[in-house]
């Protein structure tokens, strides 16, 4: 995060988003496989373990993460979204930082209401 922009870089694309263009920041959580590429390699290797024990070995690689969904508009008004996986407990801090820097965001209570009754 820069002073006035959020920079992100994935294998497919890079983007620089002005913090003032952020319309909403939504929080969530998910359980996912940890370890990145090494984790995937381990998981594939574990498939070769006898009696399907590899399935149970991969249980060790599960972790909870926070999900941060950032909604922003481009210069033509088009809605974009970026979904980030961040270590558990960090999403709320990032959200607070972005709001302090000028991003717009709905209250988490409003978010919960939106997710159930739009």
């Amino acid at each position: 995060m820069q002073s006035d922009a959020l920079l992100f870089d994935s294998h497919k694309s890079q983007a620089k988003v002005a913090i003032s263009a952020i319309d909403d920041i939504l929080l969530g959580s998910e359980t996912t496989q940890s370890g990145g590429t090494a984790g995937k390699v381990f998981k594939v290797a574990a498939m070769a373990a006898p009696y399907e024990s590899g399935r149970f070995l991969s249980v060790l690689m599960w972790t909870k993460v926070d999900i941060l969904t950032v909604l922003y508009r481009d210069e033509k008004g088009g809605v974009h979204s970026a979904v980030f996986e961040v270590p558990q407990g960090q999403a709320a801090g990032i959200r607070t930082q972005l709001i302090a820097a000028g991003a717009h965001a709905t209250d988490p209570v409003e978010q919960a209401q939106k997710e159930t009754k739009p």
Binding site: L26, G28, E30, T31, T32, Q33, R55, F56, S58, V59, W62, I67, T69, L71, R73, D74, K76, G77, G78, V79, H80, S81, V83, Q111, K114, E115, T116, K117, P118
Partner: protein, 175 residues
């Protein structure tokens, strides 16, 4: 008695022979024609669904439809440039059912932990007139993250658009 049997067999054979003819007739229904589409983010409706599923679905729909090249230009929701195209159609999706499974459970026990997302996809003209509407589903049965359900759904939506629309002439990828 044998005459009745023969009659029944003839009727059954006629009905069976009719199935491919009806299927072909259905396939040859005239395709819609539009060179521009605007995609709106899925609406949760009264279904409880985490926001990341809605917006990952939105991005994946845009990505898939652009990749297919069925339309000359694919506009995002709110894009002001879309106002200049009289043949613009709008894709709206409304979630009708969502079941968040469990990836760990799926990988341990194949028959449990499936994730599914059912939506009603509607194509509207500029005037809000509904051109067609169809129920579609995304599923993750065995491998992959729960969010993968949005990818499966986007594939089905892109396929539906390919079936319903004529390819746009000189389609070019949009940004």
């Amino acid at each position: 008695m044998s005459g009745i049997y023969k009659g029944v067999i003839r009727v059954a054979a006629f009905c069976i022979a009719l199935i491919p003819v009806l299927a072909m007739a259905q396939d040859k229904s005239p395709k819609l024609s539009s060179t521009h589409i605007q995609i709106e983010p899925p609406e949760a409706g009264s279904v409880s669904i985490p926001a990341e599923f809605l917006f990952t679905g939105y991005e994946r729909m845009i990505e898939r439809v652009r990749h297919d090249g069925e339309f000359q230009k694919v506009f995002r929701s709110g894009d002001r440039d879309a106002n200049g195209f009289p043949d613009l159609v709008v894709l709206r999706t409304k979630v009708s059912r969502f079941k968040e499974g469990n990836q760990l459970l799926r990988e341990l026990l194949d028959l449990f932990g499936w994730t599914s997302l059912d939506v009603t996809a509607t194509i509207e003209g500029r005037d809000g007139n509904v051109l067609f509407s169809q129920n579609l589903s995304g599923r993750v049965h065995f491998f992959g993250e729960n969010l993968g359900v949005t990818n499966d759904l986007a594939k089905h939506i892109a396929k539906l658009l390919r079936e319903k629309f004529q390819p746009a002439p000189a389609a070019a990828p949009a940004d």
